[in-house]
């Protein structure tokens, strides 16, 4: 993980108030083009050429117009800071809004153009960056996003492992409209991306590339019948406190990546690498940003202390293992013994799965089977939620039998 871009972003868990409420937009005009063609993604000119030859056309501009129309309905005079042509201005104009163009791409545009456009849009004072695309676009956007600037995806890609997308273009438009009106809370979400070449050869191995700030809609006017957590941030604090309450002296903890595990480190007064696995024990960091091999060396030392991994839900699809925290490999988990995992997450994060199970994919089917079933997820001090865990790889195997 050492070679990651340095955009490991600010992890302040409080919502903040933005004075200037300008929305920026960048579109990946060819996002999703590989999907209808069955190409598992749209990265790179070769694949795009194949997609075009198969008759695909991108719907990313239509989706952008859909979202921008929601803004236009409330703020017809709004200006959107964006890139020229298909990368933004065309859609802005089509939605009836005014485009402030701050970047022009070469033709055809590439991921480098997305990154360069993000830099220009941020410099022009946007307080929220809307982007249209999939995981690859999210990764390009995150790579140049200034620390603390929130981003929100209008879903249009083939790959959607990241947790920074609205559920639909209209939902993104609603969020952006609200964003112009008033401050919205933001929460930390993961940007994951896979090597598409690997997917095409049958291997899903997405990595965690960034943790970014994403706005979300919180309850606004009603529902005061029961005690509610004031915010997602409060939920994260409570869940982290709950995990800390279960920690034992002398035990070694492998703290996985994620916003909730970051909060655990913060409450313990430790510095954690947001995208890495850090080993902590009795209030000290033993090993920061450990590789799989370093973890194995540590865990297989003779007469070592007991050890557990603390993990949280990574990305939008409910993965606990195998997406973004590959350092916690099957070999590492086996070295942890019979009760390897402490799972920590907010109740909101579980309910956001809409009944879909948590997922593990360590690449070791026997281990995945052991980890499947029900797991007690720590949601607060003395509070757990029992939630089903599935191993999608195993289920795929069963369906073939």
């Amino acid at each position: 993980m050492a070679g990651l871009p340095a955009q490991v972003l600010q992890l302040t868990l409080t919502s903040n108030v933005h004075a200037a409420r300008t929305v920026g937009l960048v579109i990946n005009p060819i996002a999703g083009i590989g999907g209808p063609a069955g190409l598992k993604g749209s990265d790179g000119p070769d694949i795009q050429a194949v997609a075009y030859s198969k008759g695909s056309r991108s719907r990313s501009i239509d989706r952008a117009v859909n979202a921008l129309s929601m803004i236009a309905a409330t703020f017809p005079d709004a200006h959107i800071v964006t890139a020229a042509g298909q990368m933004g201005a065309d859609a802005v104009t089509a939605a009836g809004l005014t485009a402030d163009v701050v970047y022009s791409s070469r033709q055809p545009s590439t991921g480098d153009d997305t990154a360069a456009a993000v830099t220009a849009i941020a410099a022009a004072g946007a307080s929220l960056l809307l982007f249209v695309g999939g995981d690859g676009t999210a990764r390009d956007v995150a790579s140049k996003l200034p620390v603390g600037l929130p981003m929100l995806g209008i879903p249009a890609g083939v790959k959607m492992y990241s947790a920074c997308f609205a559920v639909s273009a209209s939902a993104a438009g609603t969020l952006a409209t609200r964003w112009i009106e008033e401050p919205l809370p933001v929460e930390n979400r993961e940007v994951l991306d896979v090597d598409e070449q690997a997917i095409r050869t049958g291997r899903v191995d997405p990595h965690l590339f960034a943790i970014v700030r994403v706005p979300f809609l919180a309850g606004r006017t009603q529902a005061r019948k029961s005690a509610t957590l004031a915010s997602e941030a409060a939920g994260v604090r409570v869940a982290a406190s709950g995990a800390i309450a279960t920690m034992s002296p002398g035990t070694r903890y492998l703290l996985g990546p994620g916003g909730t595990t970051m909060e655990i480190a913060r409450q313990l007064g430790l510095t954690k690498t947001p995208l890495g696995v850090d080993v902590i024990r009795d209030g000290h960091v033993e090993l920061a940003d450990a590789s799989e091999q370093e973890l194995l060396n540590l865990l297989t030392e003779s007469a070592g202390p007991p050890a557990r991994a603390i993990v949280t839900v990574i990305g939008g699809q409910g993965f606990l293992l195998g997406r973004g925290n590959q350092q916690l490999s099957a070999a590492v988990l086996r070295a942890l013994g019979s009760d390897p995992l402490c799972v920590v997450a907010t109740e909101q994060k579980l309910t956001a799965l809409g009944g879909r199970p948590l997922l593990v994919d360590t690449g070791d089917r026997e281990l995945d089977t052991t980890l499947s079933g029900y797991i007690a997820v720590t949601t607060g001090v003395g509070r757990t939620s029992v939630y089903p865990v599935h191993a999608p790889e195993n289920e795929g195997a069963h369906s073939c039998v």
Partner: protein, 520 residues
Amino acid sequence: MSLPIAPKPAIRRFHQARWDEPVIFESTTPGERGVLVSQPEPGIRETVGDVLSTLPAGLRREKKAALPEMGQMRVLRHYLRLSQENLGADFNIDVGQGTCTMKYAPKVNEALVGTSKLADLHPLQHTDDVQGILDIIWNLERAVAEISGMHRVSLHTSGGSTAIWTNIAMIRAYHEANGEAETRDEVITTIFSHPSNAATAKAAGYKVITLHPDADGYPDADALRSVIGPRTAAIMITNPEDTGIFNPRVKEWVDLAHSVGALASYDQANANGILGITRARDAGFDVCHFNLHKTFGTPHGSGGPGSGANAVSEALAPFLPGPVIERVDGRYVLDSDRPQSIGKVAPFYGVAPNLVRAYSWILALGPEGIKAVAEIAVLNNNYLMKRILDIPGASAPYAVGRRRIEQVRYSWQELYEETGITSEEIGVRASDFGMHYWTSHHPYVVPQPFTLEPTESYSMAELDEYAAVLAEVAREARETPEVIRSAPHNQTVHHTHHDDLDDPERWAITWRAYQRKYFS
């Protein structure tokens, strides 16, 4: 010519009254009085002397109370105006606040509790002087015991959450009496049980384990099996859950609890769909409670006082709160000598007027009538569900395609994905048609939720009208979303911001606090 009366449109053209009425403290006129009290006659004044000086210093005001000074007529008008600016249960088709069971609270019962026979009683009167109200409480206890199948009942608590607290307090006392308080430190509940079950168990010191539904949307028995054991003090569940889904294996859940020595607690706050159909004790539950304001027709009172009824098996009877009413030689007495009791959970006998209302409600209906309440409530609910699910964009997640008991937690997620209009915005717009609408408890487990519960009170025509309003708002979401986004249009106030309710430095729930925090 204003006759004949023009036919009314299918959708009511509602508009809320707007009086711009100031707060009553700002309407004061110094010296104005509602009643001019006669001065005492000279002889009396001289004989009695300075009454105030006989009071202890701590009871004497140093300054006059800063009450508003207003004539009777102006007080009446003030509150009538405020009532017109509300959208109360007696004004609208109040099916939009599911889980609350907003059934009609019969007005004849107000006449009963307004009589001097009740209103002039004092809870500190000797029991010999209040045999009538004790008789009512005793008989109401018997009725609730019969309805629940339980052995004994307490009517002390003044709200549902206090009643759930009383359930867990009795469970804790039971395990303490058996020497198992130390080892049994976990309580299991479900995500769709009322959140007060988790909250009171936590307040009582238990670790709380919450179960999520299974793949079919029913309470997950396998999840229960995975965590229940010697550390379990109790399962605390609602059934039907807040989704309106009835757990068909509830007996199995209770048996599982008993097999590990745990107790089973049944949140029946809203028993409206099962009255006279199922009984908690018949399913093996050890303890349950009802909210009289949900199930037995007493008013909700906008936050209180309500009334809870706790019903327990014979094994738990010694732990009931006290004092309890006993019948000795045809007379009612209070028994406070109960060493295992959890003690007082409310002052005196409970909320006596609500007990009278509930007793009257039960007697007026009789056993067949009570069963008919449940049957009509379930029929109404499933009729309304059909009407709602006919609206494009509405769905009822979990146990898809199956019927519900007395309420349904619906979702506008499809409409939201298509139009960006949220459930809360739909609720605000529904108020423009004179309809109250709620979403769900937090956190939202069902996305873009709304929860409808028609109860037995509403007619088919009224349910049709409510469904027509939601269909109209859903149509607007697609065709004129800006109308919804800028709603309300027919209300007295626009959006309120409630961040001040989350901030102790800013919230003001009394006039005095408002003055202190904002003007001093």
